[in-house]
Symmetry: C2
Subunit: 373 residues, 2 copies
Amino acid sequence: MKFTINKNELLKSLNIVTKAISSKNVIPILNGIMFNLKNNGLELTASDSELTIKTFIDKDNIVNIEKTGSVIVPSKYILDIIRKMPSDEINFELFEGYKLKIYTDMNNYNLNCFDANEFPAIKIEESKTPLNFLIKDFKKIVEQTVFAISNQELRPLLTGVNFHIINNIMEVVATDSYRLAKKTVKLEKKVNDEINIIVPGKNLIELIKTFDNLENNIEIHIFNNKIIFKFDNVLFQSNLLNGTYPNTANLIPNEFEITTNVDVSNFNASIDRASLLTQGKDKNVVIMNIKNNNMLITSYASELGKVEEKLVVEASDKADISISFSAKYMMDALKTFDDEKILILLNSDVKPIVLKSVENDDLIQLILPIKTY
Amino acid sequence: MKFTINKNELLKSLNIVTKAISSKNVIPILNGIMFNLKNNGLELTASDSELTIKTFIDKDNIVNIEKTGSVIVPSKYILDIIRKMPSDEINFELFEGYKLKIYTDMNNYNLNCFDANEFPAIKIEESKTPLNFLIKDFKKIVEQTVFAISNQELRPLLTGVNFHIINNIMEVVATDSYRLAKKTVKLEKKVNDEINIIVPGKNLIELIKTFDNLENNIEIHIFNNKIIFKFDNVLFQSNLLNGTYPNTANLIPNEFEITTNVDVSNFNASIDRASLLTQGKDKNVVIMNIKNNNMLITSYASELGKVEEKLVVEASDKADISISFSAKYMMDALKTFDDEKILILLNSDVKPIVLKSVENDDLIQLILPIKTY
């Protein structure tokens, strides 16, 4: 393997593939990045057992390919080495088996690498009927839901995001059982067979970090045990979680006693301020009172003191309710709306709080109240 | 106590005094900020046992003073509360003993505070003959030396910076016994009596963070057991370390076998790159070879590989040396020079490495070599 490449071209690809490398890996090979130089370009691959990322740099974007070949490069050092290289063009040459010489006129790294044959075999397929999105649209879908997953490995299915597609309707749901985020998307094309999969939330979080040009397209290829995202020159393959995602449809009420129209930014700021004086077991719990068109958000911690925030809202006639909830969960949910105003829908102080746009039901955020008595 | 104040005016002062609050304090009073509202303005004070910071907001910068008074406010909450307040003008009112009401039209915090009488008595004096500096000059002096202090509490004196003044010459020295930074400053006025004090380095680091307008003046008042820095509306009082600072004068050689003139930025970048492939007990150790006008910086770690960096320098005739040192210590020292080029002065591979400006001896950085054989 011998080639010369532009520093920034290589850095861009390295930054993407290293997202598949987990700091928990103990197997040196899985902490490595496979460099595979072919006549048509340079393929970089990194993989842990659950996530594989592959990028491709076309030969037109490589200064010079003198000799093809492949080797596994330790990821811990290669990014820093390339980032700090003094010149725009960097030379690579494999010698004495698995030693990689990375050099310019003025400097020279001899980096000990690994035999490319030791890299796990990874089969990246394509389905005949991929889903298609604008990257920015798909990113939004993930951002509006993935925050609500559970971090508890005890309930592994809830650490994933459920994508359920029938005909041309895709429902995307995440829940940690205390809150739930649901996004409904109308697809351009119908799917032939129902799709009902659970994608690990942490992989989706890494995926959206690799997005660059948001106006480009992303193809999604779904298989029985894996999902592949294809965009720009990147292939991003994640495992799926095995099992049946809980049916959440009947958790979301259809009718509400109280409808309140609030300004998202004022409401969020009030909750943020009210949550400052919370501590101990009630950390982050605030109480929302709605009476007619007056909203009062309060919190109380015996040692610290108390807070009272007043807001003027548009509530249903005779609205009169006092309900407690996690300030953090409410602020997480509020962030997912682009709207200036949204609806807060309530039935009683022990029934779910539902947030949605004034315009449509595409995005539903549900938060369970907390009993404080 | 009752008053109305502009949010940003108060925030500026709070940000300064909270630097005296250590996260290690277990006494609630010492985690508090003393608010003392007098007819001429608002005094804020925070203190741990070794550091006291006091700021003053003149009555002209307070919207309204209705009733004077004082109280100790818990620092953990007050900064966030003020920072997140929705309006530019914030009202304060003390009620029911030590409860502080902080409010605007739309919100209201009742914060539990403490009796002002419980605050430790702090005497802030002024000496008749303070030293005077431009803030930016004094900041530079601290930055060029304080990084070289020891973090080892086992040698407490070396955790401080030594200020030694005779007549109109001030020598400022810091060392952790492996490296030494020395700055010599000519004062405008002679001092009558020799001054030889050790200021805790961590307090100097906090001090320079509180500097705002670098073109203003700073007065330094030195006493037997404390030092007071007075600037803008801030009084910053630190304890001194008790003991005699080691005599470092004869550690710095006066004559050198080899003089090398290097470009600071290229030299620094080469050392940074060479240090990437170091690990284990030799972490950060690089080897510098100078032969005639060629410099080679190398490092080697058997598991990882090796690096070679070439530089062209101007060295003494017949220069021929190979010397090992800590890359981190070298980069720390290089940062203190504003010069484009500096001198690296050497005698042998076991004698100190000295860095200084080409122009003068005002700033000396000394690094001990590391034996690698």
